[in-house]
């Protein structure tokens, strides 16, 4: 376990990403220190409504805000986290995969956890989840492409772009 970066005593349970201007900082914190900074842990059921959370995104204190700042769209429908912030609604089912990590943080705040324990959809269980894997691969390639362009590795970038085009049909 990583120790909490604030008290250096307890184990870190949550990751707090803060965006100040152009600077993004990530802190790994224990439940107590996270709570002191206003970030609930999975064990704390909060009644904060979606609207309040979306408003808080504007203050840049959540991973969703950090992701929203990058503006990477959902590979399937093209919706961005900025769109989600404006409407409170996702664009398609694949947005749940594209924005999986930041949404997890939102679910903790809204529902007190992220794991569905109710009825499981049999068709999905039988078929596996190939579409989610595909979306994750597309997101990974896009990120690698962006890094390659930034680092001016143009041959690699061209190869990644071709692979991405292949996947996006």
């Amino acid at each position: 376990m990583t120790p909490c970066q604030a008290c250096h005593v307890r184990d870190a349970e949550v990751e707090l990403t803060q965006v100040m201007g152009d600077e993004v900082t990530t802190l790994r914190l224990c439940g107590k220190c996270a709570a002191e900074r206003g970030t609930p842990t999975e064990s704390q059921v909060t009644d904060s409504p979606l609207g309040a959370f979306l408003a808080a995104m504007g203050q840049g204190a959540t991973p969703l805000a950090a992701a929203a700042a990058t503006g990477e769209p959902c590979p399937t429908c093209g919706a961005t986290l900025g769109d989600f912030r404006a409407s409170g609604r996702l664009g398609c089912a694949d947005c749940w995969v594209a924005f999986e990590r930041p949404l997890r943080d939102l679910l903790r705040r809204v529902h007190g956890g992220t794991r569905h324990v109710g009825r499981r959809y049999l068709q999905a269980a039988e078929a596996g989840d190939p579409s989610s894997d595909l979306i994750r691969e597309r997101l990974r390639l896009r990120e690698a492409l962006r890094d390659a362009v930034t680092a001016e590795h143009f041959e690699l970038a061209a190869e990644l772009r071709d692979r991405l085009r292949g996947l996006e049909g």
Partner: protein, 360 residues
């Protein structure tokens, strides 16, 4: 399956029949499950053609589903305002899908499939919203209705499901089970003893929320509150219902205690109020819907406490729908703009009371 342009039996409202458990306090129970189809964008990111596709897929699946094969399909977009409002007054579609808000219009491809106590709303915020609607306090029965439709349609369609998050919805407040259960409960005792704010605050702390008669954003009228679960993820369907059911029972106990307090400490005022409500209800020649619901609250309380002579709960419940504008306009062969709707409403009330031998 039969298509409809907004027709249907005027009195086909079994959920208002007051035949269910605790019908004295609870008007009705609703359980809805939100589902979306794989490969189609949510509203806001889908086209009219996508929504028509959803409609076609669901219609084909329903035609093959035993409990939905005889369902009636009401498409909203070809209907005039009155027809859309008529469906909304019967709690079959949301205000939003029906495009009832000022300047609103019906969503293209918006529709509802109705089969007995089950209604499947199509192309709302989520592609499918399946609801079971029952009389009285009947969470398990309403869930069974919705789950039957879910099972039959889910076997014939591909619903979006995530291994961790469960059933995927357009709004994160519905993800997981996609289940929202709500109980429409009459709480005049708690309102009159001013205990209601405390009770509602307590409910909010344990994950319940309340709305008015017509769902999200609607005002509380006639001391009727819709109590429902706020979270949909992290608990199973039966745990969510148990939690809501337990709390509703506690609220019912508080309401009964509040009525005892009123009877003990404010008998004269209570007597006066319920008799006044009865007087106006049975003699008014023009009444607005909001006023009617407030009057019905007083009469309902008076009948329940034995202050007023008995009057069937089903008659009072049915007025909650039949005395609304689109129902009145249709029954009177007039329009929503008719200035005499308040007069038609009062006439309907007196006619129903006369049927019970209670007014002229």
């Amino acid at each position: 399956m039969t298509d409809s342009v907004g027709g249907g039996g005027e009195d086909d409202l079994p959920w208002l029949a007051a035949s269910g458990p605790w019908a004295d306090l609870v008007v009705s129970t609703r359980v809805r499950l939100a589902r979306n189809l794989v490969g189609v964008g949510f509203r806001g990111r889908n086209s009219e053609a996508d929504r028509e596709g959803v409609l076609e897929q669901v219609q084909a699946a329903a035609a093959d589903a035993p409990s939905l094969a005889g369902a009636t399909l009401h498409r909203l977009d070809p209907l005039p305002l009155e027809g859309r409002q008529w469906l909304q007054e019967r709690q079959l579609v949301s205000r939003e899908l029906a495009g009832l808000d000022p300047g609103g219009r019906a969503t293209g491809g918006g529709a509802v499939l109705v089969a007995g106590a089950v209604a499947v709303m199509l192309n709302e915020e989520d592609h499918l919203r399946m609801q079971g609607l029952r009389s009285g306090f009947a969470l398990d029965e309403a869930l069974a209705d919705a789950e039957r439709a879910d099972g039959e349609l889910g076997a014939r369609l591909s619903f979006a499901f995530h291994p961790e998050f469960g059933y995927l919805t357009a709004c994160p407040t519905n993800v997981g089970t996609g289940l929202r259960a709500s109980v429409l409960i009459h709480l005049p005792g708690l309102v009159l003893t001013r205990e209601i704010a405390k009770v509602l605050q307590g409910l909010a702390q344990v994950g319940l929320t309340y709305r008015g008669l017509y769902g999200e954003g609607s005002a509380v009228l006639g001391n009727l509150f819709q109590l429902s679960n706020q979270t949909t993820l992290g608990k199973s369907e039966s745990e969510l219902l148990d939690h809501l059911g337990r709390l509703v029972r506690q609220v019912m106990e508080c309401e009964i205690q509040a009525r005892d307090v009123l009877r003990r400490d404010a008998a004269a005022v209570l007597d006066d109020q319920v008799w006044r409500a009865w007087g106006v209800l049975s003699h008014a020649r023009a009444v607005t819907f909001d006023e009617l619901v407030e009057l019905l609250s007083g009469v309902r309380l008076g009948v329940s406490l034995g202050i007023l002579p008995p009057l069937p709960l089903g008659t009072m419940n049915r007025l909650l729908v039949l005395a609304q504008s689109a129902h009145l306009a249709r029954a009177a062969g007039t329009s929503l703009e008719d200035e005499a709707l308040a007069v038609h409403r009062a006439t309907l009330v007196r006619r129903l009371l006369a049927d019970e031998g209670r007014a002229r």
